[in-house]
């Protein structure tokens, strides 16, 4: 269980550009389920995802991961949790340019010090899962949108995370590729992964994949419930 208790996030505190992205949000996310954060742009979905994924700290409030309070942990521990527990698929995919698809997939595991040959084999297997083995050596700039996203998913899975976080995953995909993405996530969920998605795309929040939909607006949770 990932729990957020009364969390707020203020950017540029004390400056004229001060902006409160989240106001006292409380939320429970159950493991092995898919939770979709739904809402318009600027509703705080991405900020909440970043906080749940240990990418930043809330200004106030606390976050618990399996009853362990993680908000006050030092940076090193947060990084360790981020690396071992979460796999991220970013809106822009955020693949590192200039290196191959395979190297991108391997990147999150480099700091673990895993033996290179072993890591390479695992990364190739991850690419194979998405039928990308032939594109392993291709530079990421040469990949199509769908391929790039699948590489981003393979990268998110390389450290065997228990939670997969994806921010607006279908924003840059056409309908066919969006359905393909939902299919991939459904497979991962079936294998036991916890999935947290932020999206304002009906293909995502109306899909069978979504177990719970949390609706957000103006930095607050306006409703949360079991998906229809």
């Amino acid at each position: 269980m990932i729990s957020a208790r009364d969390i707020s996030k203020v950017f540029n505190a004390g400056r004229p550009s001060e902006f409160t992205a989240l106001h006292g949000v409380s939320l429970d996310i159950r493991l092995h389920e898919t939770t979709v954060l739904k809402g318009p742009s600027g509703s705080g979905k991405t900020t909440l995802l970043a906080l749940l994924g240990c990418m930043s700290r809330p200004t106030t409030g606390r976050i618990f991961l399996n009853d362990r309070e993680i908000t006050s942990l030092p940076e090193r521990f947060l990084t360790e949790i981020r690396r071992s527990t979460f796999g991220f698929v970013f809106q822009q995919f955020n693949l590192i340019k200039g290196i191959s698809a395979l190297e991108n997939v391997m990147a999150p595991a480099y700091p673990t010090g895993e033996k290179f040959s072993l890591l390479r084999r695992r990364a190739l297997a991850a690419l194979e899962m998405f039928n990308l083995e032939k594109r392993a050596d291709a530079k990421v700039e040469w990949l199509s949108g769908g391929e790039a996203q699948r590489v981003a998913i393979a990268r998110a899975l390389i450290n065997n995370p228990t939670v997969i976080i994806a921010d607006e995953p279908t924003a840059h995909l056409d309908t066919r590729l969006a359905h393909e993405f939902i299919g991939i996530m459904a497979d991962l969920k079936a294998k036991g992964s916890t999935i947290i998605l932020a999206s304002h795309d009906p293909i995502v929040y109306d899909s069978e994949l979504a177990d719970r939909v949390v609706e957000m607006r103006d930095g607050q949770v306006v409703s949360q419930g079991i998906s229809a």
């Binding site: 991405t46 900020t47 995802l49 970043a50 990418m55 930043s56 940076e75 090193r76 990084t79 981020r82 690396r83 071992s84 991220f88 970013f90 809106q91 955020n94 693949l95 590192i96 340019k97 200039g98 290196i99 990147a107 999150p108 480099y110 700091p111 990268r155 450290n159 921010d167």
Partner: protein
């Protein structure tokens, strides 16, 4: 290699800077060493005569009285001088060697003279003497290149030819060269010579070395200017690197943090990246500088630095590397550069990883 254009340009500029800095270091050091090696066999004391402060030939007979001073092993009158060649607008150095002097009518010439006069052994070559009449000489040999620095413009000839050519009377010499065994006696002997012949001026070898050092020191002063310019270029280059991190690089650091890299992992990666560029440029620069100075006779510096006449000695310096200097260069370039690549990365790496999500 990623970012081929940027890293390629970086490597090129860096290599160029190291090349110039290392060339200057190699060149000045080798030059001083060369001069010191050549002068190693110079006489311990040279006695010149001066009249009201101006040079004057010294009577050969004075050598006898000076030779009787305790500690003096031998005294040799020396005959030498300079000859201006108006046709080729070059200065030559004339000298009568102590041993193996050419027979009368023959001369040995330095490689520089042979080159500009297009002369080879057995050729006949003419020079205008003190009375305005030319003298012809047969070239016995071209002096070896081993001591090029001081022999390039040299003409060796017999005593008889020298006196005929210069008009110096038989009882006079240009100076006296003394051999003295004990270095601690140099000053005492010099004092005794001055007492014996008040119008003489004894010159110690250490003073000659000092003069050469000052001469090459002055020349290396010019190089210091080049050195400073190159060093300044390096500082600007490193500063630019230190303050500038492209948006792409910043984003990349953000991505790495977001996918689970620690700040220390990123700094380590940047350190290795900087080290690879630094070390490659350093090694390439050093190798190029070595080739430039020791294999191709420093074509970029030579006209300014070598030879004192219009005749530039085309000589090859003895390869000599001072590891102290190389390590100084290493610590003044590679280390600061590597540090400057880390600083901006550190600044970017301490930001929250969620920046890539916004």
């Amino acid at each position: 290699m990623r970012r081929k254009g940027k890293n390629g340009a970086l490597l090129l500029v860096y290599t160029l800077v190291i090349f110039v800095l290392a060339s200057v270091l190699f060149f000045t050091y080798a030059l001083k060493r060369e001069a010191a090696l050549v002068l190693k066999d110079a006489p311990e004391i040279i006695v010149q005569r001066s009249q009201t402060g101006r040079f004057h030939p010294i009577p050969v007979a004075w050598g006898e009285s000076i030779g009787k001073i305790n500690g003096v092993i031998s005294v040799r009158p020396r005959l030498w001088g300079y000859q201006y060649d108006s046709v080729f607008q070059a200065n030559y150095t004339l000298s009568v060697p102590a041993e193996n002097a050419p027979p009368t009518g023959s001369i040995d010439i330095g490689s520089g003279i042979a080159k500009i006069r297009d002369a080879s052994p057995d050729d006949i070559i003419a020079f205008t003497g003190h009375d305005g009449f030319p003298r012809s000489f047969t070239i016995r040999e071209i002096l070896s290149d081993e001591s090029q620095l001081l022999t390039s413009d040299l003409i060796l000839l017999s005593e008889e030819d020298y006196r005929d050519f210069s008009g110096l009377p038989a009882d006079q010499a240009i100076d006296l060269a003394l051999r003295v065994r004990n270095p601690r006696e140099y000053a005492t002997i010099a004092e005794k010579i001055t007492r014996l012949h008040p119008d003489t001026r004894p010159i110690l070898r250490s003073e000659i070395l000092r003069t050469y050092d000052a001469l090459f020191g002055w020349r290396s002063g010019l190089l210091i200017v080049i050195f400073s310019a190159a060093a300044l270029a390096f500082v600007i280059f490193a500063w630019d690197k230190a303050t500038g991190l492209s948006a792409e690089e910043r984003k990349e650091i953000g991505i790495l943090k977001a996918i689970g890299w620690e700040t220390s992992d990123i700094l380590m990666m940047k350190f290795w990246e900087g080290s690879v560029v630094s070390l490659t440029a350093f090694l390439a620069g050093i190798i190029l500088a070595y080739a430039h100075v020791f294999l191709t006779s420093s074509p970029l510096f030579a006209p300014v630095l070598k030879g004192w006449s219009t005749l530039y000695p085309a000589f090859r310096l003895t390869p000599f590397l001072d590891f102290g200097q190389i390590s100084a260069l290493f610590f003044l370039t590679v280390v600061p550069y590597t540090v400057t690549t880390i600083v901006p990365s550190w600044r970017a790496a301490i930001i929250d990883p969620d920046s890539v999500m916004r």
